[in-house]
């Protein structure tokens, strides 16, 4: 098939890859939720799965945990990002924070969660550094800090990962919001920096970052790996309970798991609707506040507070990685010593071979998935360019849809469905499931630079009788080398961090660094977790470094392209 006939097919193929598994998975969830699971000899419809679910004494608390941690993590991380941007955008402090936070985007959720646990637990590094001199503790206090009943540690784990994400999204939106001029005008009229920004720029920025904010909310409400590492267990959050029910030896428990998944879906939809209502309320109050003409008090304090919060959140991830690195080379290391009694490479020689094997599997899956996502994305964008298609707001929502549906709502269904078809294990299905999450991020990170490419260059090339294909391969893609590599690195990082999709769809046979690290969590061997966590972080971070380095090398004699 020639490319001319293939190209128009790519947008359709992309839609299929994005929505196919989601729709199929939801279908595979709905049937057993209403008592229909022929594989277990059960035919519905029946409401018993929901009756059993509501009969579980832990449900109210599990639901509260899901909703509470999700909403709290979203509100706090959004507030930090908005106030930091309001108070500091354009300053040197902001530049530093931006450079600190960008690489953190690539740190997998599980690794960040492990690092945080190593840091804040009663026997964690912070307590070790301060003990016994400052605290007087000769032994760790009996405090419920990690796995706390309110899920605060888990909320913190989500915040430190969502702040970099929202900040980078906000930076992209700022460029299209005429922010700097609005702020200058507001300041000239006597508004404080933060107040002026909130009154003039925030409404425009928020309108643009709304979909990613919803993604953060949906993700935080249904996350599994972070909840397993940092969250409470008596009872666990709803999403963890769903995964536990999926693994129950009694196959009929899958009905209850499916009912839980439907409840999870409804909770997320409900939370999104309430959030939408909240937006309207905030907007109503905001308009009155704007109209009141208040110039703002305490701007400076707010800005400093937000910068501190952003700095602490970045420092938490960095220090977490540092303490993970120390554990990976630790000999005996007991509380309250600040450092291990000796440094040894024994842990690396012991766990190294296992991590290399898992790294191979992780890399294979990530590279294939990210490449497929890249091809589909470039195909879509090129089709859009050549055929002059205008992308509507609705099409953008399609990209976000797989990220808005909780993973626990459709992945269990997808697994049940694949089981029925006898195709429920191995790499292929796992790659397909990863693609659902990788594709949107690759598309979103490449779309803007791709569309911003100067069309006049193409026009000149066409006038010199270059074919559209030649323009794409010889001009456009080379000029877009850096954004293309960055999008590829984003895809790799997203794939490396996937936990639930690998675990459920792989039937347990596909062992990546992430699944191995989370499995090790139950055994609590901190040296092994340190080694696996670092390897996992490296697998996601190194591609980003290369995405920066390669264009610099390739274009070392093309000054104008180095940043392109």
């Amino acid at each position: 098939m020639s490319r001319r006939r293939l190209l128009p097919l790519l947008p359709a193929l992309t839609m299929l890859a994005l929505l196919g598994p989601v729709v199929a998975g939801l279908w595979g969830t709905m049937l057993p939720a209403f008592g229909h699971l022929p594989a277990a000899g059960l035919t519905g419809p029946s409401l018993d799965p929901f009756r059993n679910l509501f009969g579980w004494a832990g449900l109210p608390r599990a639901v509260m945990l899901s909703v509470g941690t999700g909403v709290l993590a979203t509100v706090i991380s959004l507030s930090i990002v908005m106030l930091v941007t309001a108070g500091w955008s354009g300053t040197r402090a902001f530049g530093v924070l931006e450079r600190l936070l960008s690489p953190l985007l690539a740190v997998p959720h599980a690794a960040a969660a492990f690092g945080l646990a190593f840091l804040i637990a009663p026997s964690g590094w912070l307590a070790r550094l301060a003990s016994p001199e400052l605290t007087g503790w000769d032994r760790p206090p009996d405090l419920l800090i990690v796995q706390d009943s309110w899920g605060l540690a888990m909320t913190a784990g989500l915040i430190v990962k969502e702040v970099p994400f929202l900040l980078l999204i906000t930076l992209a939106a700022l460029g299209q919001s005429d922010a700097q001029r609005s702020l200058h005008v507001a300041q000239a009229l006597g508004y404080g920096r933060v107040t002026g920004w909130l009154k003039t720029v925030f409404p425009r920025v928020y309108a643009q970052i709304r979909p990613p904010v919803y993604v953060v909310l949906a993700y935080a409400m249904s996350v599994v790996d972070v909840a397993v590492i940092l969250g409470p267990n008596t009872p666990p959050s709803l999403s963890v309970q769903i995964v536990k029910l999926m693994a129950h030896p009694d196959l009929s428990m899958r009905l209850e798991a499916a009912a839980g998944a439907v409840l999870q879906l409804l909770l997320v939809i409900g939370a999104l609707l309430v959030w939408r209502l909240g937006e309207a309320v905030v907007a109503a109050f905001g308009r009155r506040w704007i109209a009141s003409g208040a110039r703002g008090k305490g701007d400076r304090a707010l800005a400093v507070l937000a910068l501190t919060a952003g700095g602490v959140s970045a420092a938490a991830v960095f220090l977490g990685l540092v303490v993970m690195a120390i554990w990976s080379v630790a000999g005996f290391w007991s509380f309250p010593d600040a450092l291990p009694d000796r440094i040894t490479l024994a842990n690396w020689s012991r766990f190294g071979p296992g991590t290399l094997e898992a790294l191979g599997e992780t890399a294979l899956i990530a590279v294939v998935v990210a490449l497929v996502a890249l091809v589909l994305t470039i195909g879509c964008l090129e089709a859009e360019y050549r055929h002059g298609i205008r992308v509507s707001q609705r099409a953008v929502w399609v990209l976000y849809l797989p990220l808005l549906i909780p993973q626990t709502a459709f992945l269990p269904g997808l697994q049940t469905l694949m089981l029925t078809l006898g195709a429920d294990m191995g790499r292929g299905p796992v790659m397909l499931a990863h693609l659902v999450f990788v594709l949107p991020y690759v598309f979103l990170s490449l779309a803007d630079p791709f569309r911003a490419w100067d069309r006049r260059i193409g026009t000149i090339a066409a006038a010199l009788r270059a074919s559209p294909d030649r323009i794409l391969w010889r001009l456009r893609l080379p000029m877009l080398l850096r954004p293309v590599l960055t999008a590829f690195a984003v895809g790799l990082a997203v794939s490396v961090g996937q936990y639930l999709a690998t675990l459920l769809i792989g039937g347990g046979r596909v062992a990546t660094l992430t699944t191995e690290a989370v499995a090790l969590a139950s055994g609590g061997d901190r040296r092994a977790i340190g080694v696996y966590g670092l390897m996992q972080t490296g697998a996601a971070l190194v591609p980003f470094a290369l995405a920066l380095l390669i264009p610099a090398l390739v274009w070392r004699n093309r000054k104008g392209l180095r940043h392109g």
Binding site: A39, T420, A521
Partner: protein, 400 residues
């Protein structure tokens, strides 16, 4: 959907060839060469993972069998998997070839005809196993084994304490409660349904019941409440004095090692008499840690592997199971620097050279001798464990 069903039927593999005969060891090893065995085993313990990797390198060397360790967080996952495959009609070439299985899951799988066998007593190394003197090798949780699983390690409940902070041992569960009340926050056990967690609950029950003989028979609706009432009274008294006041529990037995190392706990519990010595050797525990058992003895059992009925590599799985019972593998497993598990072999059945492998082992400073381990108590019938575990979750697992 109907077309899909037809398609699935067409694509389904042809009926499997007749199963291989375990007694024909020559045919087994011939067929095993080149097979890949997926061994589903709990993956939370790095020492066990290392041991399994070593087994893989040895069977590859001797028999050309490729061993892949599928690291589970819960053995029940593997049972689910086989059950789902059976219900989906996948009767051959299943995802699992070998499972490190425990009593409750063995009972469930045996009852549902999900196991291949009997095979264990036909394996060449079975002749070396001490099945006459170790009752736990004949019945797993009171369910007769009948050759449907082969043993590879002996386990017994021991209590692990750091003598730097807790010098004395306690002789009974009552004494443990007194100690916990005097030292709040310094003891915990893994959260049921974790295997060791439920074993601890059964150990409490056996120790405080005047006559634990009732536990040998299945639990009934008539006797369950009365028999378990003392257990719940005991736990109600104990829980507020546990680590974190019982609002959180360690996930597994090995997850308690770091807590013990840091002084969050002074006392914990283990099913492996040699695990503490192994952990000391691996820098995971301080060398002041020791183990003890209760005056009336503690629960003991054996670790088994089983082969699912639809495994695609039964011959390879049998080769691995047989190797696990070899003097070489057993001596390595008992070495506290490696694993510290008790052996299933009878010393008097071994050749002098093989016996020397065991006699030269230094069992480690924290490991009790067989004599010090004392009386081995039988496991209760699995029906007790299932109900106690469910009730524990209802009472303490969602309490906060």
């Amino acid at each position: 959907m109907k077309q899909l069903a037809v398609l699935a039927a067409l694509l389904a593999p042809l009926p499997a060839m007749a199963d291989i005969d375990p007694a024909d060891w020559g045919a087994v090893t011939t067929e095993a060469a080149g097979q890949t065995v997926y061994w589903n085993a709990w993956g939370g313990s790095t020492t066990t993972n290392d041991f399994i990797a070593w087994v893989g390198s040895r069977v590859a060397q001797d028999y050309g069998v490729t061993l892949t360790h599928v690291k589970l967080t819960d053995t029940a996952d593997a049972v689910t998997r086989v059950l789902s495959e059976k219900q989906a009609g996948q009767d051959a070439g299943g995802a699992i070839d070998l499972i490190w299985i425990n009593g409750a899951n063995f009972a469930a799988m045996k009852e549902a005809d999900l196991l291949f066998g009997p095979y264990a007593e036909q394996l060449p190394n079975w002749a070396l196993v001490d099945h006459e003197n170790k009752p736990a090798l004949q019945t797993d949780f009171t369910v007769p084994v009948e050759g449907y699983e082969s043993p590879w390690a002996m386990a017994q409940v021991v209590f692990v304490h750091d003598t730097a902070r807790m010098q004395e041992s306690v002789g009974s569960m009552e004494a443990l409660l007194d100690w916990a009340q005097a030292n709040p926050g310094r003891f915990s056990y893994p959260q049921p349904p974790d295997f060791l967690g439920t074993t601890f609950l059964k150990q409490v029950l056996i120790d405080i019941l005047p006559d634990p003989a009732v536990l040998a028979a299945p639990a009934t609706d008539e006797n369950y409440d009365a028999v378990t009432a003392p257990l719940w009274a005991y736990l109600d008294a104990l829980t507020p004095h546990l680590w974190r006041e019982g609002r959180a529990y360690p996930a597994t037995g090995t997850a308690m090692f770091p807590l013990l190392a840091d002084g969050e706990l002074d006392l914990s519990v283990s099913l492996s008499p040699g695990a503490a010595s192994t952990a000391i050797a691996n820098n995971e525990l301080p060398d002041t840690v020791r183990t003890f058992v209760l005056d009336k003895g503690t629960i003991g059992n054996a670790s088994f592997v089983a082969i699912p009925y639809n495994s695609g590599a039964k011959a390879g799985a049998m080769v691995v199971a047989n190797f696990l019972m070899s003097p070489e593998a057993q001596a390595r497993a008992q070495d506290p620097a490696i694993l510290g598990y008790g052996t299933v072999l009878a010393m008097d059945k071994l050749s002098d050279a093989d016996r020397a492998l065991f006699e030269t082992l230094d069992l480690g400073i924290a490991t009790l001798t067989p004599a010090e381990l004392g009386i081995v108590q039988d496991e209760p019938h699995p029906t007790w464990m299932t109900r106690i575990s469910d009730d524990w979750v209802a009472r303490y697992g969602v309490a906060q």
